[in-house]
Symmetry: none
Subunit: 185 residues, 4 copies
DNA sequence: CATGAATGAGACTTCATTCAT
DNA sequence: GATGAATGAAGTCTCATTCAT
């Protein structure tokens, strides 16, 4: 059920999109907060898992970053309704939800943090990099890219932006613009 | 009125913070959407104007970028309640608002676009830069930085992040990490 | 089924306690009202029958009153869940139920009425007794005693109150406080 | 507002009877529980206060009992809608309300307890009286009398039952049936 | 101009009831 | 006969908006 996506945050609309009656939603979720939070948790989990799978067991920071972007854009790119929920509806004022969002995002943020830390340790990223800022650049850029995609109607292929986004982030992180990713794939 | 800030998006609270009665708000604004949109417009206008003032009449792309970040963080940094409205409450599901947001953001986005275009033309930024992606990296990084600041309680000085954010963006845009901004100020 | 008691008036819980599925309940009862009304009817019937059995065929008004209290407190005292349904859930605002309750209570009220009338005729109760009021004192005192028992958690033995309640009622009805019940049992 | 009475426990009906819109109710009460509890508290307070006023400063237990019944029946007798709320709607299954009812009834129950204790101490009531049971007989009889009045449509004058109810209670409490109340008034 | 009490549409949620299996 | 997932009517409550003062 939660995969089918929603293009509205009202329970009635969620139920309608899912093709069930209003009350049916409450057989599977405790309340509205639970619905949104479940969707977020599931999607973030999927992105993190997928990025790890793609990455394999030879972790290279830049490759891992590329895989994360890939996983993120692929997961949301094939489901605009889901993306809409994550980008728009979950970011509402309800403090009860907002409090949980940070916690749910932690695996994602940890993945990002690990990438950056590893990159600095290995010397692949600039040593004077502020880790906090780096994390925010990565998530902010990815998030804003998805945002823009959603608000223009999700008309183009989001995965086409994987490489350009990776490129600009990599450059910001490494200070080099000559990373030859192609040779490694 | 709209400068006084809000830490909630309910009209009653807006009125209370502004020190007027609920009904009085409707003498100045058409409806709630109008309030939020006005705040956004005013704030964005302020940021753009301030960044232009700071920039002066000798436009240099990187300097302009720094001024934009400065203007953005200074404007929101001294008014967390206002920032909260922009980051949280304005991003609601109401499609009527969302439609206007893009238009209001245009001056800001144009400023960003001008900076990037100028930077590429002048050779200060990488020629293979995707302009669209660059714009999203800039706004996304700045926005996410403000977001994180708000959600951790706006406890630290946002303006302290001007230089680190500029640094990471500049590197991503130029491919160089040796920009000596200090020598010019 | 209806003997197994309930500590909630929701049909789902009734079904769970009875060990059947929700829908099964509707094979035996027309609707929820029917369930509650059936429980009431059965329980009242049981109390009246039991009090008659205890009383035997030599009806003496005071003894009959004692037997009624005995039957009432014994029936409910061993099944707090059932008592809870009768004292709490059946007294809901639904006028459709309320209308039936009076009718179902009639055998009980008739028993009470018969006791009082017989008592007056036989000269064992005060002649100036208002029959209506006497009936209400009897039922009201018994009912309130069960009520208090339920709302304090049904922690003590309800049947221990048979004699004290009988004592106070008998005194109110006879004007004498020297009825030596013990000698007759 | 809370004096106007209600003949239904739905907030919408309460609002309708009070002649206001649904939302208006919430300007004066926190929630539905608050409405019912407020009515109960106010009415119980009124009965207790009125009975004290009637009683004057020369407390005599039996006279005090008569005044309590008088206050109770007068208060409810002139407002059947209010009585209906107290007798029917407040006794619903909602445990949150039920928990508060006992506390709100305390002043009333304390008044009753004081009367009985004083009566026993003064020797006007039977020494072997079980105080707990006596309290329940008093409240139970009064309550059931009001109940019966409500469920038969509140068609007769409730205050006409003050003396008969007092008579039966007094007899039950004193063991005498010759109390000459008239000589004292 | 300003007020703020009142409004009422609409949101979330519960639960008695149904019906395909 | 039995099931229990699904239903959807109806209830409580919020809050943007109005208008008599």
């Amino acid at each position: 059920m939660s995969e089918s996506g929603y293009h509205g945050a009202q329970v009635a609309r969620i139920a309608r999109v899912a093709g069930v009656a209003d009350g049916t939603v409450y057989l599977y979720f405790k309340n509205k907060e639970d619905i949104l939070v479940s969707i977020l948790r599931e999607t973030i989990g999927e992105i993190v898992t997928l990025s790890t799978l793609l990455e394999g067991d030879h972790p290279e920071p830049l490759k891992a970053l590329h895989k994360l972007i890939e996983a993120h854009f692929q997961t949301l790119g094939q489901n605009p309704a889901l993306a809409s929920v994550l980008q728009v509806h979950i970011r509402q004022a309800d403090p009860a939800i907002r409090a949980q969002v940070a916690e749910i995002m932690r695996p994602y943020q940890q993945t990002v943090a690990r990438i950056v830390e590893m990159g600095v340790v290995r010397g692949e990223m600039r040593s004077k990099l502020d880790l906090r800022i780096a994390r925010r650049m990565i998530f902010g850029t990815i998030d804003e890219t998805v945002n823009a995609w959603i608000f223009t109607g999700a008309k183009y292929d989001l995965t086409a932006l994987i490489d350009p986004v990776f490129d600009v982030l990599m450059t910001g992180l490494t200070g080099r613009n000559d990373y030859d990713r192609e040779g490694k794939e």
